[in-house]
Symmetry: C2
Subunit: 243 residues, 2 copies
DNA sequence: CGACGAGTTGATACTAATCAACCCTTGTGG
DNA sequence: CCACAAGGGTTGATTAGTATCAACTCGTCG
């Protein structure tokens, strides 16, 4: 299932689309880090594997001593409120950074949805390294801005879309990640539960089920099992009609 | 009204709370830039004044050649969808950066809500400068991460709060900005319309009015005029009960 | 095989969107 | 200086979408 970490160190890749530079290439959205930068970054990091789905990687309110780079697997970041409500603020895929803090305290919790491999950077050492390595720091700026754009996009979706369209958008997002979507069969394998999706889209698990039903009755997708969906991506895009 | 720009150059200040460094001071949340850094940054920038409220500063879809630092005034960033719906993704106050792009195209529009003074940076020159000035680039990382946290916080609010609580949170946020909130009289002067607030909170202007009515009937605030509110900040905080 | 969590379905209640009408303020031109 | 227009703000009536609660099924794992 996970060839990257089967043996040796997985590659250090940071997934992001640039803000201020046009990318005319069709390539995958990974930032170009030089080999030496990768090696030096790798020396700063520990590799940690979370063998089982459901592992808690970090918790909101804890002292934030590390920043995490996901090498393999899927992670969700969530915040639990006084009321007990939980809001999932994002799902992280290989090449994503997580472990956001405010004044050295984690603001969210992070949980492995699948077995995961991560690079863990001590923030102190990392900050010092970035100050000495402008081009690597530049990659981190790009990544942060990329995440900011994603969050703003999600704000639009939460503010203006009904539940079926939120779900459709979410499924398309998931279909962008190779390990979980097979373009040949158009099959998406969801690593998260209905409750997770609901807590991400600001709704309830029941509404997710019903929204799936609505999309299915419009022939935009077909439920093979609860967690595997056959998507008609082009039709879904037309249905969403973003922008 | 605007003493900073009445004469000479307004100060370059970037407003942000750090992520991985504890700030034990009680000071205002402005990043520490050295005087020489400020001077050199200032040389990169043009100062532009938008004399009238409602000025369009930039538009989504345009070529993004500049990044903006707000020196004085209030700006809103919004995205208009195919459907004609508008989502405001953020309000910017002095010390904020705006002009977010993706592959050199602005993703949002930005409009002055009051007369404004901005620093305008050519992105090419700025990027080159940041690569040569690690500590300034570091400030930009911190600012980007700060904005990311704000967006995630807004996601939680949109996902889990009903309209009155969204509004209460928004009013508290506004009260954090000195030019528009007088702590002595607890009076907030709103620079934006009900429609703007509604498009920010993912609702309608009518619902904003009704939510104001609900908060007023709970004695959390008092409407002096449509745009000036007397806030009971402590009670509002208790009402919101965030986290 | 039993148990538990995930997923689904149905009935009901409620929040907020929508549409319409109206008031109030502001600014402009006769 | 006043009249009128235009946009912002408010209120009411109706409707639509979705939250909530309850019951039940399905799938998986010990």
């Amino acid at each position: 299932m996970n060839q990257a970490s089967r043996k040796g160190r997985p590659d250090i890749r940071i997934r992001a689309i640039k803000a201020w530079t046009p990318e005319h290439s069709q390539e995958s959205p990974h930032l170009a880090l030089s080999t030496t930068d990768k090696v030096e970054l790798g020396r700063l990091a520990e590799i940690i594997e979370y063998k089982t789905a459901g592992s808690q990687i970090l918790s909101q309110g804890q002292k934030a001593s590390f920043l995490y780079l996901l090498a393999d697997g899927v992670v969700q970041a969530s915040r639990t409120l006084n009321s007990g409500d939980r809001q999932i603020v994002g799902f992280y895929w290989p090449g994503d950074l997580f472990g956001l803090a405010e004044e050295s305290i984690y603001v969210n919790s992070a949980e492995a949805l699948t077995p995961c491999t991560v690079y863990r950077f001590a923030t102190q050492k990392l900050e010092a390294f970035l100050l000495e390595n402008s081009n690597v720091q530049h990659s981190f700026v790009i990544k942060a801005v990329h995440n900011l754009r994603s969050a703003q996009r999600q704000l639009i979706i939460m503010g203006r879309f009904d539940i079926p369209r939120r779900l459709a958008t979410f499924l398309l997002d998931c279909s962008g990640h190779e390990h979980y979507f097979d373009p040949a069969t158009h099959t998406l394998t969801l690593p998260m539960t209905r409750y997770d999706i609901a807590d991400y889209l600001g709704t309830s698990a029941e509404s997710i089920t019903r929204a799936l039903g609505q999309l299915e009755s419009k022939h935009l997708l077909h439920r093979l099992t609860a967690r595997t969906l056959e998507l008609k991506t082009a039709e879904i895009k037309a249905y969403i009609d973003f922008e």
